[in-house]
């Protein structure tokens, strides 16, 4: 093929790839949202920002450590699978961790090894792949304030609602006492 024909063909390929990548991102997430299993993770949000994607709140998860036997077995930043169960209050709990992808129908999510603690008890921190919740720029700082209020009141709980399918996760919402953080009074003020 000569250059005259090749260039438009190459351009069309580029256009299709550019369209395919976001479309694939959307399709994968929609699939998890519609047919995945929901878990609630207890979390604490704080608010930084990203130059291109705007304001978000970072979620610091509670109960994200697990006791381990040997430290040599695990490396920081390594991919692992976290097998989840639910406690009596309905929040996600770590049942076990594994390097191999678990089989069967149990709930599990792909995550990364965070810190390894060497003290009396050997502990491994899990870094979940859903620690960013993007919010409208005016709402993100208010959400953090609202959370701080809620955390002083021990009867209120904050959690992340996550849909999980086949190890992949999509963060659906962040809730304080059952109300979506974006719809909370104080966050959603239209002043």
């Amino acid at each position: 093929m000569n250059k005259r024909k090749l260039l438009p063909a190459a351009f069309i390929v580029v256009v299709l790839v550019q369209l395919y990548i976001p479309a694939k991102m959307i399709f994968d997430r929609e699939n998890i949202l519609s047919s995945g299993r929901e878990f609630k993770f207890r979390a604490a949000p704080v608010d930084p920002n990203d130059p291109f994607r705007g304001k978000y709140i970072v979620l610091n998860f509670m109960n994200n450590t697990i006791d381990i036997q040997g430290l040599d077995e695990w490396k920081m930043n390594e991919s692992i699978y976290v097998i989840l169960s639910t406690d009596e209050d309905g929040f996600a709990e770590i049942k076990s961790i594994s390097k191999e992808k678990p089989s069967g129908n149990q709930g599990f999510v792909k995550a990364k090894v965070g810190n390894l603690m060497f003290n009396d008890e050997k502990k491994l921190t899990i870094e979940y792949p859903f620690d960013r919740f993007y919010m409208e720029e005016t709402k993100a700082p208010r959400a953090e304030t609202e959370y701080n209020k809620a955390s002083r009141d021990s009867t209120r709980t904050t959690w992340a609602l996550v849909s999980i399918k086949d190890g992949e996760a999509v963060l659906k919402d962040v809730m304080i006492d059952g109300v979506s953080i974006g719809k909370l009074h104080g966050v959603n003020d239209m002043k």
Partner: protein, 427 residues
Amino acid sequence: MKILKEIPELVDAGIISQETAEKINDYYLQKNSQSPNRLILVFGILGAILVGLGVLLIIAHNWDNLSRLTKTVFAFLPMLVGQALCGYTLIKKTNSKVWRESSTAFLFLAVGASISLVSQVYHIPGNLSSFLFTWMLIGLPLVYVMNSSVASLLYLSGVTWYACEAGYWTYPSSEPYYFWLLLMLVLPHYFLLLRRNPGSNFTAFHNWIVPLSAIITLGTLADTNEKFMFISYMSLFGLFFLIGNLNFFSTLKPVNNGYRILGSIGTISLLWFLSFDWFWDSLRKDGFLLSDVIFSPEFISALVITAIAIVLFYRQFRNKQLIEINPIEPVFILFIIAFLIGLFSPFSVILINLIVLLIGVVTIRNGAKLNHLGILNFGLLIITALVICRFFDTDLSFVVRGGMFVLVGAGFFAINLWMLKKRKENE
């Protein structure tokens, strides 16, 4: 144009004939109509980049009130507009640089806007570096399909930013080895630019941004054996200086030759730093075992860059005499010798000081020979900075330090006066 105003005077004075005058007029008339209007090109590109960045910022607001479906539709909108503009350019405006560069610049940014919006809608994890990585990879083909230098410059800035995010600004940091691959991927476009339009502004921008990007990113390789990074950097600066002195680059305007300027400033700055005893002191104390470092990224990078620089050095100087060598060029080799000596003895720090002094003196001599006050004073500046560095070394007596300052200060006056006097005599 100035020359066109002078023509009647030249004709009246009988220096050029009427015929020649008309020829000159015609030449400039034709040249002006042929050359693409540079102003429109600049405004076109700037406009496209500003609109693209504006779209990115508007998207970053995160419109909570819009439904997920609306947002996903908007995610594709800027990209489709950009693709349509690029497609139109390819079909109808193939020869218009303005259309090509502006539409590609817009599409490049629109691609970022699109994946940014999808990331927000689905709270897709991943930090800024992984976002930039994806974006640059999708944007890269535009450089070649659209044959766009603006896309190439945006890409080079983007991959450098990615490497800095991953290597310097995130904890725990990871070495962004992919950067070097990403850099290689855009080099063919750069080589084509060098071959076809060596004098163009786009080429000049590349002559700066390519070495700058490598200099900024090399430091991300530093891990636990950072002492070898000094060798890597010294060899990289030496390599750039040698590249800048290749026949091809040395014919460029000095300001378009980023390699030469970055290479010389880098080499000298590093030498100033090394003229203190800190580095050498810790090198002697810490030492290292070859078997520990031989597979470290710092050692390998030092080895590879030095090897390339030595080959280039050899090719350029096998037919030259010692006196023709610019003193900055062999510094990276001398530094490795000093490094090896420095493992055992404190003599290296003296050696480095001597090298800086030598570079200063030779630069002054070159300035005098070329009758160039700029080069001459650059040489003096090198020596002055060395003296200032020594001012902070407390192990020299105040009298010695004071004497050095007086001597160098007097030297500044004397050499400049001598030069100006020589110029007057010549006139």
